[in-house]
Amino acid sequence: MAYQIPNFPDMEYVDRKKRGLTIQVYYREIFRGVWITTKHFFRNLWKWLTFRKGGVVILYPEETRADMSPNNRGRHILVQRSNGQPRCVACKMCATICPAQCITIEAEESEDPKIQKRPQVFEIDLSHCIFCGFCVEACPVDAIRMLPETSELVGYDRFRMVYDKEKLLSWHPTVSDDVVHGYNPNA
């Protein structure tokens, strides 16, 4: 039962339904709640007792998810030029779009005047990363990609979760198409 307040057309009062004694003493609802969990308890217990698995969760290191999509993307890599240098031109588009602000780039002048700009420092703090993939989308030169590895991204310290340029360049593609050509601004 709601009614308008005369001077405030946007506001309305709502009269909550009065709770009767059965609700107020809580016992009925408590037993209903406990009944649901108890059903689960005995069902799962019976499964355990008959040497089956009584939980829907997985035993992580021994089991991994069977329903992990092949499209899943986790760890970042920097794509290399054929000379092993990163393809990245340190434009900071990824750092700009990153909603978690986990990418740190410092640029420097490249020896090759055609490339001009290259990253001196390229760090991704994977403990901040939310794996949204915006950096991959934002990259104008396809320099950053994500591999379908997620489950192994663990570290004992926070600073070990910061992946630097060397670590990000550790991916060595076997398909020659993936070793990409230099960025040609005139193309």
């Binding site: 700009t96 002048e109 001009q116 700009k117 601004p185 005139n186």
Partner: protein
């Protein structure tokens, strides 16, 4: 002055005769896109972006070259004009490389902005772009990228009209043209060289101090006033994470138009090594509150024997409080000094008829306004005094050497080392306030970066006055300005 009335987009506007159409429109709220036209430069009319249609004119006219005429009927937002702008942008972008990601101008690029606003079309150009020199050093200060250059000639006109060094020119012709210096020349000895990078509409000219350092959209702009000389150029200090990345002139027709000198910029960009830090008594760090109470009691006891040496780096608000302090205590020996003088060895310009003034301090006029009776420190008779409050750097050592010194300064110098009481002050980028330039124009500025391990002189004077039991005129810049 004679005034003319004309119609722009159905709106009747009245401007002085002789005004350029592009200015007349901008003054009345109609922005006409442009690349080569600059308010403070002679129009050149080569980019064609500002073409508008004028009735009874067979062809569209460049509004930057057309003076207004009575009864002119101008259209700036017809489909025809939109088509012209699209076509001009398409032509400019034929050879302009699409390397916005690595271009330092991206984010504040006129070409980028106007392409997004007026065209947005896909390029129809399938051929190879003309490749030119990508890295061409105009000396140590500036790097030129010929590919990005759209040959608006703004930089050429700046060297010809503003700095009058005539260093830049456009060589070759057609699609091979590029901006260049005369053989064997550099822009390093041009004191206004960085102005060409500010006013380059694209990323062709970039200053080496800012090249690849930071993207412009991360920078936070603070309006400030240059403290390099008594001209008081209006500037933007652009910072990120408490670091000054770039300094650019702020437009002010009365003071500096759109320009500033390179020394002013370097004054902010390369932080001085001899910055003072901390609060000390007898060269030992002490608590700030203890310092204030000790200085207050010392001044109270030795009022007659104390010389008060003012700083020409002080803001007007600090000087107001200093005046209140000296009047309250009755200090008679008040002196002003030149905190910084021209030093030939650094290659600094002594004075020119463009912007740079001989007085290298920002607020000498303010000091003289606040303390009309103050004498020059060189006229000081040492034997009259036992104590001296020395505010700011650059006091002559022989004048203060025998005294017990209280030094409030942002810079370490010999006087600082000799002092018994030291308080590290702030430079103008680290505080709010106002300066009065040599023409008597008072200009406010805002704090751009936080001072670390140093103390605002304004707060120090407020605390000192409170310690002496006086209600200060105001505790903030705003309060003091309102109280005046």
């Amino acid at each position: 002055m004679k005034e003319v009335t004309l119609t722009v987009d159905g709106k009747k506007i009245t401007v002085p005769a002789g005004t350029l159409l592009i200015d007349a429109c901008e003054q009345n709220g109609i922005y006409i896109p442009r690349f080569c036209y600059h308010k403070h430069l002679f129009p050149s009319g080569n980019c064609r972006m500002c073409l508008v249609t004028i009735e009874k004119n067979p062809k569209p006219q460049p509004s930057c070259m057309t003076p207004v005429a009575d009864g002119m009927v101008v259209h700036t937002n017809t489909p025809e004009v939109a088509e012209i702008r699209k076509a001009v942008l398409e032509f400019i972008l034929i050879n302009h490389p699409l390397d916005c990601p690595i271009c330092d101008k991206a984010g504040e690029c006129m070409l980028q902005d106007q392409y997004m606003e007026f065209s947005g079309d896909k390029s129809r150009f399938n051929e190879t772009k003309v490749a030119k020199e990508k890295l061409y050093h105009f000396g140590e200060k500036i790097v030129y990228d010929a590919e990005r250059c759209i040959l608006c000639s703004r930089c050429v006109r700046i060297t010809r009209e503003v700095s009058k060094t005539n260093k830049l020119g456009i060589l070759e012709r057609g699609d091979r043209s590029y901006v260049a210096l005369a053989h064997g020349d550099t822009l390093d000895d041009d004191p206004y060289a960085y102005c060409v990078t500010d006013n380059c509409p694209v990323g062709a000219l970039t200053p080496t101090y800012f090249r690849f350092k930071e993207r412009v959209w991360y920078l936070h702009k603070t309006p400030s006033v240059c403290a390099g000389c008594s001209r008081g150029c209006n500037i933007w200090i652009e910072t990120k994470d408490n670091v000054i990345y770039r300094v650019r002139p702020r437009e002010n027709d009365a003071v500096n138009k759109s320009w500033m000198c390179d020394f002013g910029r370097e004054y902010y960009i390369y932080p001085p090594k001899n910055r003072a830090a901390g609060v000390k008594i007898n060269h030992r760090a002490v608590d700030y509150g203890k310092f204030v109470s000790e200085v207050a009691s010392l001044l109270k006891e030795h009022t007659k024997e104390t010389a008060f040496v003012l700083s020409a780096y002080a803001t007007n608000e600090e000087l107001t409080l200093a005046k209140q302090l000296t009047e309250h205590l009755g200090i008679k020996g008040i002196f002003h000094k030149k905190d910084r003088v021209w030093q030939e060895s650094t290659g600094e310009i002594r004075e020119d008829d463009i912007l740079i003034k001989e007085d290298k301090t920002p607020n000498m006029a303010g000091v003289k306004n606040a303390f009309p009776d103050a004498k020059d420190i060189n006229d000081m008779v040492i034997s009259d005094f036992k104590y001296a409050v020395v505010w700011g750097p650059g006091a002559p050592l022989d004048k203060v050497s025998g005294l017990e010194l209280i030094v409030i300064s942002a810079m370490v110098d010999q006087v600082w080392d000799k002092a018994k009481y030291n308080l590290a002050g702030r430079i103008s980028a680290e505080k709010h306030g106002s300066f009065t330039n040599f023409e008597g124009i008072t200009q406010d500025f805002r704090r751009a970066i936080k001072g670390e391990n140093n103390y605002d002189e304004l707060t120090f004077f407020v605390d000192l006055l409170k310690e002496l039991g006086v209600k200060p005129i105001g505790r903030t810049v705003q309060e003091i300005q309102n109280a005046k």
